[in-house]
């Protein structure tokens, strides 16, 4: 079993090794390793498009993580106090949000949002008495964050609900006896209890949003995210520059993960 597990680990890390090794390759393509070089890093970091896309992705992933952790925690706690029907409906919709193919949600969101935007613009123009509606809304980071928050929130609700099932109801009773308001129970007992799950959910959201391609392709407006940029580049002949970008992404992910995990474990130790 130990040997098999080791083999699985090799399998999991093989592509990562390929990416990292070839990001330091001097050759102009990936057909052979000819020597060490940092030229692809130099090229990637002097490419304003790649840098802009990377920044864009980081900002979007951070915001998606924060938004979906906040909404997801509220929903998971809220579900404890609603009727069975409401709970089933909300949980099924959240599952659907996870299962619906990205291409569908991506294109449909673009169509739906642009219709909604022009409707809102018309309404504003009518209220303000303008003769022609002005362009007020456009696609960009907020639309990607909103669209990504759907599947991220669904995941956060799942993770936090699992944690809440372990919450001992007698604690809540004790707390209700101790403090006056139930709001206070929520704040002093429930929220601290789910902090590790919130961190885990937020971390997973960050990673999923950072990686997401097809929804971002549609609703990112004129500023591509990193996966969108990389995917378009790959379609017209890849360069090892992509490996340098991927290795940089890997490093960022590891740093974020290590920080978040150490936070998570400290939270658990306290709980």
């Amino acid at each position: 079993m130990r040997a098999f597990s080791l083999f699985i680990f090799l399998f999991l890390y093989l592509p990562v090794a390929v990416i990292v090794v070839f990001s330091f390759n001097a050759a102009p393509n990936m057909s052979a390793f000819t020597g060490l070089s940092l030229r692809w890093y130099a090229k990637a970091f002097s490419n304003p498009l790649a840098i802009a896309a990377l920044t864009n992705s980081i900002v979007i992933a951070l915001c998606s993580a924060v938004v979906s952790t906040a909404i997801g925690s509220a929903v998971a706690i809220g579900l404890m106090g609603t009727s069975r029907t409401t709970r089933i409906v909300v949980q099924s919709l959240m599952m659907l949000g996870l299962a619906v193919p990205g291409i569908v949600i991506g294109l449909a969101s673009l169509v739906f949002f642009s219709a909604a935007f022009s409707g809102a613009e018309q309404a504003v123009a009518m209220l303000a008495g303008w003769e022609q509606a002005a362009k007020l809304f456009s696609f960009g980071r907020p639309t990607v964050i909103a669209a990504h928050s759907l599947f991220c929130t669904a995941l956060v609700v799942e993770v936090i609900s699992l944690r809440l099932r372990q919450l001992n109801p007698s604690w809540l009773e004790a707390s209700n006896d101790l403090y006056a308001g139930r709001g206070e129970t929520l704040w002093r007992v429930v929220v601290p209890f789910i902090v590790p799950a919130m961190v885990a959910g937020g971390l997973l959201s960050f990673v999923l949003s950072f990686d997401e391609f097809i929804i971002a392709f549609f609703v990112s407006g004129t500023k591509p995210t990193l996966p969108v940029y990389m995917f378009a580049s790959v379609k017209r002949g890849a360069t090892p520059e992509l490996n340098a970008i991927a290795t940089s992404m890997l490093t960022i992910s590891i740093l974020v993960s290590v920080v978040a995990f150490s936070f998570l474990r400290r939270g658990q130790a306290r709980a």
Partner: protein, 280 residues
């Protein structure tokens, strides 16, 4: 334990998000699926269910997807069982969480880049060159079902390991010891105690993997090179290449219906397994 008014208040942002990013787009998809492809591509208003009849034209892709997803999910589970069991029952304390973290770590890198790394690893200068050098003969992996299966297993194995870890972790050590005391060997204990108890977890993991895999299109695109064609690829092509959005929407709705059926069946089987587990 939570005031209904407070609960409603907490659910409000969730409702807003669902309305804006799920219900709205889904209704849009439904409307598009009932329309007609405009002569220059895209969508034109109409009211017909013709597109749903044309879904059958993508049946080969449907079949491909179901086969490879069923197979891929099974392999994922089989590969994940020993690893998850090892982590859950043989590792203790912080080592255990560190190992779990290492399982997830590659999962936290770019999906496009990882899949693209397999493209090179399985290409002529990668694994086949190594095998030829060892003297095992000439192999070609890229653009085959095998390559796509590898990509799929790779991408979804960490999820399988995590979910099965939770399933095995719940089984008490005392149960395993009791079984051993009854004179059952380790292997026998595993098959007669562990597997039945973990059955609901195995079923829910399998169905989740199957659902996620059947919506996959990037892996078949990069590693299947147009030789392996999933229903996800058919949908992407309908939206982005032939720009027949109504048919694309109809195919997507059919796919989602299939996913919902799978999720429903999985619930039933899980309940059955739960009951059996209790009786056994």
């Amino acid at each position: 334990m939570l005031q209904p008014r407070m609960a409603r208040l907490l659910l409000l942002p969730g409702y807003a998000l669902l309305a804006l990013t799920l219900i709205g787009p889904l209704i849009t998809t439904l409307v598009i699926s009932l329309g007609r492809r405009a002569p220059s591509g895209g969508y034109e208003t109409a009211l017909s269910i013709e597109n749903f009849a044309s879904v059958l034209s993508r049946s080969t892709a449907f079949l491909n997807t179901v086969q490879l997803s069923a197979f891929g999910a099974a392999i994922c589970i089989l590969a994940a069982i020993p690893v998850a069991f090892f982590i859950a029952k043989h590792l203790k304390g912080s080592v255990r969480y560190t190992v779990l973290f290492l399982v997830v770590l590659p999962f936290f890198t770019s999906f496009v880049a990882r899949t693209y790394a397999w493209y090179f690893a399985l290409g002529g200068r990668g694994l086949p060159a190594v095998l030829e050098w060892i003297g095992l003969g000439r192999f070609r992996f890229l653009n085959t079902d095998f390559a796509v299966a590898i990509g799929i297993i790779y991408a979804y194995l960490p999820i399988a390991i995590l979910m099965l870890f939770v399933a095995f972790d719940r089984i008490g050590d005392d149960l395993l010891e009791a079984s051993n005391d009854l004179g059952r060997g380790k292997v026998e204990t595993f098959f007669s105690v562990v597997i039945p108890l973990a059955m609901p977890g195995l079923i829910s993991t399998y169905s989740l993997l199957f659902i996620l895999l059947s919506g996959e299109y990037l892996i078949p695109m990069l590693l299947g090179g147009g030789k392996v064609y999933f229903i996800g690829n058919a949908i992407v092509d309908l939206f982005l290449q032939s720009r027949n959005w109504p048919l694309g929407s109809a195919v997507a709705i059919s796919l989602m219906s299939m996913m919902i059926v799978v999720a429903f069946l999985s619930q039933i089987f899980q309940r059955m397994a739960n009951r059996d587990g209790r009786i056994g």
